[in-house]
Amino acid sequence: MNFDIRELIYIILALPLIFSAVSATNFLGKDVLHWLNRLVATGVGAAIIALLLTFDADIPFAGQYIYLDALSMWMLIIIGTLYFAFAWTSKAYLDRDTNKRYGYLRRFGYLEGRFYALSHIFVWIMLLVVLVNNLGLMWVTIEATTLVSALLVAFKFTRNSLEATWKYVMVCTVGICLALLGTIIVYYIQLNTMGSENALNWLYLYEHSKMMDPAMAKFALCFLFVGYGTKIGLAPMHSWLPDAYSEAPALTSGLLSGSLCSCAVYVLIRNIIILMPSIGIDFISGLCLFFGLFTIAVAVPFVVVQRDIKRMLAYSSMENFGLMMAAFGLFVPVAAQAMLLNLFNHALVKFSLFYMAGTVIGEYGTKNMMRIHGMMVQVPRSATFLLLGIVALLGMPPFGIFFSKFYMLYGFFISDHPWLGVLTLVLLAGMLIGILYHVMRMLGGRPKRKAAGELFGFIDSLVIAGLLIFGFVVSAGLGEITILNHLLNNAAKIVLGGVA
């Protein structure tokens, strides 16, 4: 049976919503939920693949509220992959976190239902973010992701998670309010220049983006940048990020870091595409470069001196997104393409790493890396996968991030910012110094305390290995996989908005 694009999109949007509603109601038992959850995610994944096959990257699909072009297709692939991985690892994770000895969640009754309901609606809203065509709705959905994920972050309702959530909601909402202001200003510009019909419609604005009034546009951009930048976690608006990531359940952290930040980047880029022609790229690239590099610079010291494994990972994703913003700010095609590729790679790797971190925490009952030694001896499989993941994260071949990082950095040099490129490389070396130090401490040496046994199951290793290999294949063989290559080229064109 073959659907057309619209039906596929409806399927994609319908399934998670229905499932979350179902699992929110208290009917079904655990196992049914687990299987349903996998089924739904797989279905959505399949739908996305079908969409990818039917969708032609050159012809964007525009509905009344739905808009699908190469960029959003790319985002769909990212979210879909993570969704799939999430569904297939969630059972093991929940069992682990509810086990008698170490689990955080053992106190709660009926937690699968709640967890699945929240997670799936969370994913659903993210799917919505990349599918809507209205800047205002984009804002609404982003804010909604904040609120839903807040409940996920607070899922354990421990003191720490409450604190983290409070900061998360407060800081993010303030930021998002600024973004709302920016959106309002954009609408104001639109009113003054084009009148009120199809208001805030992205496509419409994109077509008429030349007509905007530069001064106000710049004014709007400031608010939008800071607002969505808060959501992306650009320093100095990043302060909520490490808390939220470290306190959320491991899978949620993976989704937050992998897909939510990517969605924020996506929305910011969508807005910037609109404002770019009227403002001109100098100011924008200045903003992106400065805040991007500043974010990396802020992340480094917190990684070098760090005890909490998940906080370390959180800062490393700050570093990645800083690098991506900087690469976006270069406005050269190579860098833009590599930046999108890195969105993908980073999402995969970071999801697997957060999951590994959850495993390690389950095995040793602590987040404190200083208390973990000799994993190679005690839990060889987790240790191997952790090492692989970290190596992948640090951007070494043959894993995916290497390829995207290589070309992002190359962008610095062909857009004559060579010294910024050198600076970035220095900062990345700093990241490596920090992360590798902690990980080696955990892997090597003689074990000091007893581990709860190898919690890293077979399916888990399949999924994680699959993620890593998928990233490698897509990045290394991009030249060969024409459909993705084509998609990525178009997405990069859209990102650059016809500038370079």
Partner: protein
Amino acid sequence: MDFMVTSLLVYLLGTVTLVWPKKAELAAHYFGMLCSIVASGMVVYSSLKYLLSAGSRWLVDLSWGQYSLQADGWSGAFLLLTGVAGVIISIYALDYGKGYLGSRIRALGGLWNLFLLSIVLVLISGDAFTFIISWEIMALVSFMLVNHESEKKKTVSAAYQYMVMTHIGTAAIMVAFYLVGSSAESFSFVDMAQNSLYGYMKDAAFVFAFAGFALKSGLMPLHIWLPNAHPAAPSHVSALMSGVMLKVALYGFGRFAFQFIGMDVFWYGLIVMIMGLVSAFLGVLYATMEVDMKRILAYSSVENMGIIFSAFGCGMVLYSMQFPMLSVVAFTAALVHAVSHSLMKGLLFMSAGCVMHATGSKNIEHMGGLAKKMPYTALFTLIGSMALSSMPFTSGLVGEWLTLQSFITLSQQAGSPEMRLLVVFAFILLGLTGATALGCFVRMYGIAFLGRARTHIVEKAHEMPFFMLAGLGLEAVLIVLIGVMPDLLVNLMQKVVSGTGITPMGNPLGIMWGGSGYYALYSPALIFILFVFIGVFVVASVYRSSTFQTKNVTWNCGTVPTSRQQYSATGFSKPLRRAFDGILNPKRRTTYLRKEHAYFGRKLHYELSIPDLFNDKLYKPLQQMLINSSSSFHRIQEGSVSIYIGYTMVAMIVVLIWGVLL
């Protein structure tokens, strides 16, 4: 090329051992090693092809667009070196690796193949991207190999240090590639050769490239990882790292110097030369002070890489002074010494492995009299030590001699006093290096293999199994062959460097300088023949009437000499330590354990440590600075939500102001 690709596939086949079933570990080990032997043999074969067709260049595009392979004379030389080392060391590892039964031996075998594979890939990669990928994989795999015995804390920290340093080096190399590549059409070496770099960008490219490759080849002060990583790794791994991996750095630097950046700027070569000389001398000096066998060898690698790079730099200087014909000598010297060093360092690391295998210790202070326990190992080690202290009839002297000749060549062209001073400086350092190297290896060999056993660990020492000895023996034979008949190798390398080999009056190693008709000659074969010829007579006349007799132990003023009366390694190098106190500044600590009485029955415990100069003065402070600054930086994240919102407001205002101003 297809043959080369086949060898790569064989290596890949060898990595199967990673997922080999745990029951048949030994089979996995043998399988992996055999694969690496076969593949390396194929590499040797195909490398000869490229060597003989020196200068020819052709590309093979793998089906995936951006990856391309190529091979020419320059890479052929290093492929040869890699293949030979690969074959021999793998043969050695057939027996040596058994020591790791039950401790991840499968990973060892698989990573071993991967390591060789990545090295070969680096050597035949045809564009910067492929180069960097294979380079990084090489670094990664060697890191994992160094980290193999990860239960030991020292190993872990050494591996960490190695990874950090090599990553920084890679970053520098990447910058260099970016700079060159961004001024060329594409990253493929052919296009990069026609780059349009100029001015300070070119200088920057050179500096970054040199920094990166110098770090990988362990030149001072970037050597810091080397003396820690080599002892931490399993012996055959450290043999390969020191024998081949360091040379690969030379290969990369050669690419930059010959093709991308050019050597027409005087101070490029100057920097290379001076850095090489300094690290040659300091390296061998530290080697002479060490008591850990593998650390001695590691520091000696620093020394030899220093010599190689100094010769290379000398060549660059000559080239920049418009004497391309003369620079051939220097580049040939660099290549020849690279080959011979890979042979002899491989040999000695392997024999260090044998000694560890036999005694379970690396500390030569605990050894002595091993020659009687393991005669063959002792013989081969003697040859290796002779080679490393560049004695005649070994390959060591060939490279050393060519290096000296290249510096003489430079001195011929040195008109101005400052150039004269430079040459004098070079020769003083070279002389010091040569003599100190002799002292170093006399010390190592003498303390470990001669005299009497210092501790009981020597008692249970035994001769090595066949394959290990075979590995040692092959290396030793090659060393002596090259030492006695260097013509073939030298001419080959000369052809690699330049089409024309300069061989006056039938003398293989004659070198002609521009202008005058004099030659510098070295005909080791003749010397060897005479030496043996007359030596046989002397020996015959000495041993004809066997008048040797062993009556009693040595006269020791009436007492029986104990083995503790021998000179210890530390004592042996004492005069040198005194001579170079200023550089080494050793830390001495004397603690009196029992001193109730001023003279009798007082025990004192004397402890001497020679910290690495750069580690103390440069790296430790840097590390401290990094950590302190980071922990002080944590104050911006103190956990108060109002302050966080404050940050957002501040950012907002800053951006607004920026927006208004711009």
